[in-house]
Assembly symmetry: C2
Homo-oligomer: 513 residues x 2
């Protein structure tokens, strides 16, 4: 068995069954070995940012790592932005980066670069496998590191000769350790601070059903308010589930939500801070005098902690949940509200919504809260270009669930190549491009930072018109059927049609401002 075969067999034995790949010469033995291990599904992407984002989406939906296969330092660089997002999502991910043969490193060949330095910025674990004899065990360690608590990116650098040489062995299977439990006295101590001037701030798995129900019980029993982190990796919501407001992205909105709060209890989330600093303001959002408590860090079992807390303080309370309620299908003008209403009116059962709508998403939470139960995946690390790849990985994770990518136009262009993989794999992803012809968020941020000069040259850098992007042409050019909607009725008809048909579709929703 050669090294590549051992890596793939170890991955499969360790529960890593999908590899999002962008191989090059140094990964050819890995590619060849795929034919020997049919249990590994390899999904080709045309750009590494698609591979890393897809692995993130896959992990968010399964809780298990996918592997990537990237080509040397530049391939890792291309995948870095979505590895950054994956790091912020705290997902498990086995990031395999091929490298030159060991004896080739010192020659400083054209593709030589410092892989370890780049990998270190997004990985909780980095190792270069140095011998074929060890590569199986190295892979075991990579899987274990990725599946630590919380999940993290584990980067295995795989030299070409370690791959191609014979004498490898499959690494041992190591069972994933359960998350560390919060000690009882930590939970006990918090009972006293709950109440109407307290916020229970939820993140991580606290935003999935069991955590939400426990938190909602605490809220119902004590009057404690619930808030969710601004950009959750995965949040379950819809009719029959507790409806938790996400802390708003704009710092002013966030501060309003936290105004008067005396105790902030972190449950799987970290203390909220402003996304960016702005002139004359503090980036901290927690009000002066508010005490921050920790029920569970992202590295601890938050759901059990919430349940224990609920049992302690609100054993008989009935959690409040969202009612079944959908908006009417809108007519006429296709603006942000109509866009949200179409989504809310038609969102199918068990949908996975990947939200990179950015400024176009304002009305989405309200319009979808009473739709059938669904998952909501967001831009965890703020590095745009995450939506289409994450949607791709989510669709690979569970083909039985319809995936809806709500995607801002400017951001879509960062990893537009994801559409091709959706077409090749015939993934059931419906992408709605929120087409406003601008980096609209930057126009707002230009105001926020007090830099709005109104100048024409500045404005040109925020404008995506001239030429307008034709997303219908771009999608069909990559094999994804696409249509354009300019009215609410058109969007509704096209969205309904796309959902009714298997396979990927794209709708270019031309939004009125």
């Amino acid at each position: 068995m050669n090294g590549a075969q051992a890596v793939i067999r170890t991955l499969v034995a360790g529960g890593v069954e999908v590899c999002f790949a962008n191989p090059g010469t140094s990964e050819m033995h890995f590619v060849a070995a795929l034919d020997d291990v049919p249990e590994m599904r390899a999904v080709l992407t045309l750009f590494e940012g698609v591979a890393t984002g897809a692995a993130d989406g896959y992990a968010r939906m399964t809780g298990r790592p996918a592997a990537t296969l990237l080509h040397l330092g530049p391939g890792l660089g291309n995948g870095l932005a979505n590895l950054h997002n994956a790091r912020r999502a705290r997902v498990p991910l086995v990031n395999v980066v091929g490298d030159h043969a060991l004896g080739h490193k010192r020659l400083d060949a054209p593709l030589e670069s410092d892989i370890d330095a780049v990998a270190g910025t997004v990985s909780g674990w980095v190792r270069r496998s140095l011998t074929t004899g060890d590569v199986g065990a190295d892979t075991t360690d990579a899987i274990a590191a990725a599946r630590g608590w919380p999940g993290q990116v584990a980067t295995l650098v795989l030299p070409a000769d370690v791959s191609w040489s014979e004498g490898a062995a499959v690494g041992p299977v190591r069972h994933a350790r359960p998350a560390p439990r919060v000690p009882d006295d930590g939970i006990e101590g918090l009972a006293d601070v709950l109440g109407p001037s307290t916020v229970l701030f939820l993140g991580g798995t606290a935003l999935q059903e069991a955590g939400l129900r426990a938190a909602a019980k605490v809220a119902a029993g004590t009057g404690t308010r619930l808030l969710a982190e601004t950009f959750p990796a995965r949040m379950q919501r819809g009719a029959g589930l507790p409806d938790v407001l996400k802390l708003p992205y704009p710092p002013d909105g966030a501060r309003k939500q936290l105004d008067g709060v005396e105790h902030l209890v972190l449950a799987g989330a970290v203390e909220p801070v402003a996304f960016f600093g702005y002139p004359g303001t503090d980036g901290r959002l927690v009000p002066e005098g508010c005490t921050v408590h920790v029920l569970a860090t992202p590295a601890e079992e938050v759901v059990a902690a919430l349940q224990a807390l609920a049992d302690r303080v609100a054993a008989d309370a009935t959690p409040q949940v969202a009612e079944v309620r959908r908006p009417e299908l809108p007519t006429g003008r296709l603006d942000l509200r109509a866009f949200a209403e179409v989504v809310g009116a038609l969102l199918p059962e068990r949908a996975v919504v990947v939200d990179e709508a950015v400024t176009s998403g304002y009305f989405l939470p309200g319009a979808t809260v009473g739709a059938p139960g669904h998952d909501w995946l967001t831009l965890t690390g703020g590095a745009i270009g995450q939506g289409l790849p994450v949607a791709t990985g989510a669709a690979v994770a569970d083909p039985s669930r319809p995936v809806i990518a709500l995607q801002a136009d400017g951001s879509a262009m960062y990893t537009i190549q994801a559409l091709w993989t959706q077409a090749r794999e015939q993934l059931d992803v419906t992408t709605v491009v929120c087409d406003n012809g601008a980096y609209a968020i930057l126009a707002a941020e230009l105001e926020n930072v007090g830099a709005a000069s109104g100048g024409e040259r500045a404005g040109r850098l925020l404008d995506l018109g001239g030429p307008a992007l034709d997303f219908v042409a771009l999608a069909t050019g990559m094999g994804v059927p696409a249509t354009r909607a300019t009215t609410a009725e058109e969007l509704a008809a096209q969205f309904r049609a796309a959902l009714a048909e298997p396979g990927p579709h794209l709708i270019d929703a031309v939004l009125q401002r």
Copy 2:
């Protein structure tokens, strides 16, 4: 004056007059300041790899740095592959990366990451500007570092508050230092080793006209053979210029060229090595027993050294130059030879050819050597996705010259967003996509590394069909007029038409195998 204004004014004063930009929130003051400094031309790109590759192309054609404007660590990551290529091209480049305000860093906001670690892997110089009072002088240092000899990537990390605060001053102008001269005795000593079993190995500026003429004189006077590095940043060639063979990319071909060579004299190039290691072979290409000499390192003035050498050993020799000779326009089947013949037959005067044709480029050197004088820019660092961005930057550098991008299909998809910038700026770039529906080079490499299993699953990872990419749709979707050629006649007619019209065009050349 705020920090951003000082940075831009210092750049302009230091001869940096173009900025390829992908701004985000932390760069908004930089964007606003563009309206105050009209001498700086800002070119918007839709993806950072386009910005960094365009800055590389601009520098190759002007010898002067452009600036980039990237958004935080993820933006730098997206631009990293083409910064890698720029590093290998040894071009000057001022890489401006916006960052969080200084007081915001410790909050570990979602977009926080280790910019310095990533930047260090591609930069010869990295500095974070820490005060608005110093930012002008920091910018001066960045320009000076970029314009050192040879050129390099200088990364200036620009915190948002350093940009937005008042109290900045324009940094001093520092004149670029000339390249260090090779001492006379270094040149003298080499005279004795020249002859038919010696190769003068040319790289860097030795591949521009003056260097080539001096090297060809040496060759004519002494029988010394000339070879060029495999992937030059910029090589001048065509009728009336010496025709120098590039060392072949496949190691076997390279070894054949170097077989029997007793002395290898490096002139602006480094010792050649194989691009990749392969099982059972050594990555070194220089034959056993061959002595390597250095006429000039890439950090020294190689052209003057070649001229001094020519004066010393071949003062009266007449350099051999390529004759005027163009292929006939081919007819019928559009294969690799016909593709090359169309390019050779129609290549316009003073063309800039950006060559990322990869496996489709086999016949290009022979077909174009007798065409009118032109520049040839290649994939210096091996990180694919360089062609369209470099063509974009080359066209910005000199609008009077037609730019021809010969672009492999798989590689094109890495930075396809460059087409939009070409459309917006109405750049005179004619892109010919070598459309073979495959990562053809990887099929060859699968053989080279001895991994060809013939397996279907491996084959699927090298195949770009299913669905086929429609480059006509992709180009028109970004505002670039496009056509498809399936015969030699169609390619010739479309290439001629594209060259006759200003602005960008794309031809999807469907190549027969």
